[in-house]
């Protein structure tokens, strides 16, 4: 089984962000980068599938500047066989522009599965996976929380609001992976050593023309500072009064 996993380098979300002078991007000073949360789940799903159903290979692909190579090496250390960087000075916000570049790379790859995280944690849009599937003309299931694959056929579960869908699909297919499906493994020392010798190819990204662009970014208006109105059950009548008369939500 041959599986491609498309992963994105995103800032560590635990950090305090500030806005750069151009008002369109984050101040890069002190930013640390890592693999997107959902992309980590997708890579783990791919590695487990190949381990259980081998022989096969897992290819990690990332679009972005040379900074993505460190994350691709991490993917190789986790167990991917090879990596591809689609080089672009910056990653556009437009999912379709990205999907076009990925489709060019994936089109003739002979992949049985192409996996994505449900969304990147930075742009939080979740559009690139299904768009890439459409451009490739492949079946696609998004936001999967459970997956079974056998004999060229797959069954997946998608969580909805208050319900879940069971979905069947044929391979080859594009899948986007939700949280909770598989905890990403830590790279072993042996894996880290081996990753240094695995192939990492760099190609120019053939991005589509971006038609969804960032006008400006801002930090959200701070909520008014929190207020503790009292301690213990004796504070309950005051809370109910405030909810009725001040917040007017009861």
């Amino acid at each position: 089984m041959k599986i491609a996993v498309c992963i994105k380098r995103v800032p560590d979300m635990e950090m305090r962000f500030s806005i750069a002078a151009d008002r369109k991007s984050l101040d890069q000073v002190g930013l640390k980068y890592e693999m997107g949360d959902f992309d980590g789940y997708a890579l783990e799903v791919a590695l487990q599938l190949v381990e259980k159903q081998g022989p096969g290979e897992v290819v990690v692909i990332s679009l972005g500047p040379d900074g993505v190579q460190e994350m691709l090496r991490k993917g190789l250390a986790m167990g991917a066989s090879r990596a591809v960087q689609l080089k672009a000075d910056e990653v556009p916000f437009d999912g379709l522009a990205i999907a076009k570049a990925l489709a060019v790379e994936l089109k003739d790859g002979g992949y049985d599965l192409i996996l994505f995280g449900r969304m990147a944690t930075d742009t939080a849009s979740g559009t690139v996976g299904p768009m890439t599937a459409e451009l490739l003309g492949l079946p696609c299931v998004t936001a999967i929380s459970h997956l079974d694959v056998s004999a060229g056929q797959g069954t997946a579960r998608r969580d909805l609001e208050g319900a879940a869908e069971t979905v069947s699909f044929p391979l080859p297919a594009v899948l986007t992976i939700d949280e909770g499906i598989a905890r990403p493994r830590l790279a072993s020392l042996k894996g880290i050593m081996a990753a240094k010798k695995k192939p990492l190819e760099t190609k120019a990204a053939q991005l589509g023309e971006p038609r969804l662009t960032v006008d400006s970014i801002a930090l959200p208006a701070d909520r008014p500072p929190g207020r503790i109105i009292g301690e213990g059950a004796d504070a309950v009548p005051e809370l109910v009064r405030l909810l009725q008369t001040e917040a007017k939500v009861l």
Partner: protein, 329 residues
């Protein structure tokens, strides 16, 4: 004057609340453009056409109904083909979706089929002559991005709960349309839909959410949370990631960066410390109440009203007090 297409989401033959939100948003956008028409697209099994009038109540002028006996469940390929065809043929300025589980699946497929871009998970937007300007929370809600979307039709998926549905009744014209693809030839098939958790109101649809964290100590103590939700009425029950990871509550109840993003009128956080991952999912709630024994818990930094203390004493008292004031009406 610009016409808008609103995709009206349904499940199991009933419209979802987000359908009214999407139609309302389309109505506002059409009116702001000088009074275009709002067309709502409704896809489903035979009988779904009976829901058209409900869409008229929220401002749809035309409801296009594509029924097929094999569309008991959502079919991504049939829905995408049908929506893309209609957008292509109809000369719409914009196509609007909900950024719900279904809308997030459907809207990017439609965008790629049409070769247009999509602004997803938008909290508000404005249609200008040559662009749509949309605001979208990103970076776990820590940054608000203002996006410029060019091209026609402009596709926008709106975060559930971000735009309140407003009744603006119209007399609807119903147009029947055939699905643009035979469901029998679909490769991706939804074979079953199972209701998750309990029959309680869904967290995406509720104006009040009562949520519990590790502070509740055990799954069975969620009874306290449920009782409070019942006393408030029209309230859903949510949970933190720690709680759903431990299997105390179904994964679909998880509120946070990796779960659901919600914006209710009232959010009650019980025994929740307020990790960044959780705050990312609920910090846009209008009013936040927190009850926690640790006065230094980060949840108190965002809570409009906090009570420090033992939730096992406070919550039953709060439930009783709300029942009392409610009973007095």
């Amino acid at each position: 004057m610009a016409n808008m297409l609103a995709f009206a989401e349904s499940r199991e033959g009933a419209l979802r609340k987000v359908a009214f939100e999407t139609v309302s948003a389309a109505r506002s956008a059409a009116d702001a453009s000088g009074g275009g028409e709002v067309h709502a697209l409704l896809v489903g099994a035979p009988g779904i056409a009976a829901r058209a009038d409900e869409l008229g109540r929220y401002g749809a002028d035309v409801v296009i109904v594509a029924e097929h006996a094999a569309l008991d469940h959502y079919s991504p390929e049939v829905y995408a083909a049908t929506t893309a065809d209609r957008l292509r043929a109809g000369g719409y300025r914009a196509g609007l979706f909900a950024a719900s589980a279904q809308g997030r699946d459907l809207s990017p497929r439609v965008a790629a089929r049409l070769g247009v871009s999509l602004a997803s998970d938008v909290i508000d937007f404005e249609i200008q002559a040559d662009a749509v300007i949309a605001r979208h929370p990103a970076y776990t809600g820590k940054v608000i991005v203002t996006l410029r979307l060019t091209g026609e039709p402009a596709l926008v998926a709106i975060r559930p709960g971000a735009i309140a549905p407003v009744e603006q009744p119209r007399t609807v014209r119903v147009e029947a349309a055939a699905p643009a693809m035979d469901p029998a030839s679909a490769r991706v098939r939804v074979t079953a839909v199972t209701q998750g958790g309990n029959s309680r109101l869904d967290i995406g649809e509720a104006s009040v959410i009562v949520s519990g964290g590790r502070g509740l100590r055990a799954a069975e103590n969620f009874k306290l949370v449920e009782d409070l939700a019942d006393a408030i009425g029209n309230a859903a029950v949510g949970a933190t990631r720690a709680v759903t990871d431990d299997g105390w509550r179904p994964a679909t109840d998880q509120i946070g960066q990796t779960g659901r993003l919600v914006s209710p009128d009232l959010y009650v956080a019980i025994g929740i410390s307020g990790a960044i991952q959780h705050l990312a999912g609920m910090r846009t709630a209008k009013t936040i109440v927190a009850i926690n024994k640790d006065k230094d818990a980060p949840i108190f930094k965002v809570a409009d009203y906090g009570i420090v203390g033992d939730l096992f004493e406070i919550i039953p008292r709060l439930t009783e007090e709300i029942r009392r004031v409610r009973g007095g009406h």
